[in-house]
Amino acid sequence: MSPDQRIDYYPTREVAGYRVRPGRPLPFGAWLGPSGVNFSVFSNNATACTLVLFERHERTPKAEIDLPEEFRVGNVWSVMVFDLDAENIEYAFRMDGPFDPPAGHRFDRSKLLCDPYAKAMGGRDVWLGDPDWLNPYIHRSRLIFEDFDWEDDRRPGHPIGDLVIYEAHLRGFTRHPSSGVKAAGTYAGLREKIPYLRALGINCIELMPIFEFDEWENSRELPDGQRLVNYWGYSTLGFFAPKAGYAATGKYGMQADELKALVKDLHRAGIEVMLDVVFNHTGEGNERGPTISFRGIDNKTYYMLTPDGWYYNFSGTGNTLACNNPVVRSMVLDCLRYWAAEYHIDGFRFDLASILGRDVYGAPLSNPPLLETLAADPVLARCKLIAEAWDPGGLYQVGSFPSYGRWAEWNGRYRDDVRRFLIGEPGMAAAMAQRIQGSPDLYWARGTTASVNFVTCHDGFTLLDLFSYNGKHNEANGEDNNDGSNDNHSWNSGWEGPSTDPTVNALRARQVRNAFVVLLTSQGIPLILMGDEVGHSQGGNNNAYCQDNEISWFDWGLCERNADLLRFVTTMIAFRRAHPVLRTRIWFDRGQSDRDGEYPFLTFHGTEAWSADFSGASRTLAFMLEGRLENGARDAVYVAMNMYWEGLSYTLPEPLDGRRWHVVANTSLPSPHDIYDLGAEPLLEDQRRILMGARSVMVLVTR
């Protein structure tokens, strides 16, 4: 018997001229059955539900189907509608129910509401296209077809400790006119640049938000004519819908195909895809914000509300999603499972993840069910889960985020301590000793792979700006430089902003390299910000969320202009990947006793070998890692850091069994002598001591 003959695929009645039957309550959202489309939506507090159908792009509905009470199971309304042209329809819901804000309810039958489970959303098909403010239904639910030809796609499945993560903005990566791609600023554009990522050597790309959001949100024009928009997109409208405006084919409704083609080709290149996901709030803002979906469908379920019905604002953006409401928790799980299964996504980075550990009133939970559920989920079992372990509500959980043996964290302490050490603050050597070995002070019970190490990320200064500005310069954001963090741990190297002084510029070039060496020789998982490898500057802007222009965009001309830096970074990444001693997963002091005839895994040194200076005045530190190469041969890596403002001499530990020190990198030397290719490292002339330039770093390896 073919499926079409089954009794439950036949309509049972006609409503508003459409043949319908009671639908299936699960899964939520809309899906295409053999002869009809199944719609399902839940609301714990609505009293009635109407399914509204549109022809694509039409302002007036073509049908309003009031769902009969018999179509309701529990608090879920579902209907199967027959004879629909799934390619051409858009749909919405109207919800009846009380408008009683103090009680948490904000139902309004006049609003057309987008499906929280919409797999595609219309209305923002082209980036910054006509916003059509007068349209009564701007963000429109659509169906998609999950028929993409994945062929034999295999997820790379790199062990998390082997990742080198590259944090990128989907649009910004190729939007600059210099990118030379056919469709600048799109999924297809990024796909054309995969060879660049491969050559750089990263093996995981972390995409800033690509769930549907409204780039027009809070857009404004400054007196100088600059238009500010929501460029970053940390403001989700549809958790299941890829951003259509990031697809060259978005105007044809093929954004899902274009994104999947990108993921497939990245996988072929051995690069994993991690998504930056924002579950802490939605794009609906506070009570003055637009009603797009959640607020109108079930305000009290989706949002954290004060006892008198106002929005809690732990996210700093007006509302807070009630992630540990059991219904919302299921939605988050459904969403991540969908991306992992349907888009072959390899991992997720959770924005302001501490909110995911709060209860529905905002109180931190000791055993947050959502985090535990995600950690134990079978579909997500091989996905990387990474938390930004803090929130603007003051919950700072770096080192204490509930991990369930799975979760890693963005290590904010790493960023701060490394910056302070690099700019020459005294007394940071002890903290650095923790950071370079994977922060055992924070992650003792969890191992080195709990720590995602970064010096810069999208939030804050770029790496070049970190060494070019003492303070932020956010005037272009139109808030009189009041936005953005004041806590940058930056130093301008002697002059604020761009300089013509060769000494200043040489110091900056050195500092950028110092940072890359520290990052890529630290245990844990390094994360590199897009553009830092070619010296991108945002002109001192440390909060470029609204800058859809050359402040943010990757300038591909820098690949030639700063080819020496790009070579340095590429070679350091290759060095990291070639030396397993840089990627241990267990703490160094475990198992030391079985190492007869070898040095301990990790030893600290200073200007004198075997004698690190951890005093309050220290600006120096050196360390040596002793272990094996993948082929079993003995290997040692020595890294010396001198953040003192003058040159210093360092005596070296003596390599064992006849090996000799070779020079990998010396940031005090001009290119090409700042770094040597793998295997071409020259022998160090004086095996007993090195002269370290002011504020420089040196890497040696044994052979």
């Binding site: 390619e87 030809d149 799109t186 999924y187 297809a188 044809y252 093929m254 195909d257 274009e258 999947k260």
Partner: protein
């Protein structure tokens, strides 16, 4: 603009020629043509697209349907697609599932 569809079977090669625009309205007819052309179990399906000026999502869906229906043993040729159609095939990655050629294989 509508879509004209012509089908022919020569030996083990089924050929479908499309002229016009392949959108949601015309896609079902294209799908029918594919179902019909493949009843004889050809080992090659050739789509002559030189006269096709536009392909919407619905058209792409039918191509994917064709690929799935034919299975891996049957080769799918796309002949002389115009630039916008080829562009869509490239951006959506479907180009990897077919042979794009300038003229029909002999």
């Amino acid at each position: 603009m509508s879509l004209e569809i012509a089908s022919a079977v020569t030996g083990s090669t089924a050929t479908i020629t499309l002229v016009g625009e392949l959108d949601a309205a015309s896609a079902p007819a294209f799908r029918e043509a594919i179902e019909k052309a493949t009843t004889g179990a050809p080992n090659r399906l050739v789509l002559e697209l030189g006269g096709l000026s536009f392909m919407a999502s619905a058209g792409l869906r039918v191509l994917i349907f064709a690929k799935q229906k034919l299975g891996t043993g049957v080769s799918l040729y796309v002949v002389a697609p115009q630039a916008p159609v080829l562009d869509t095939l490239e951006k959506t990655g479907f180009v990897q599932s077919v042979y794009v050629v300038a003229s029909a294989p002999t």
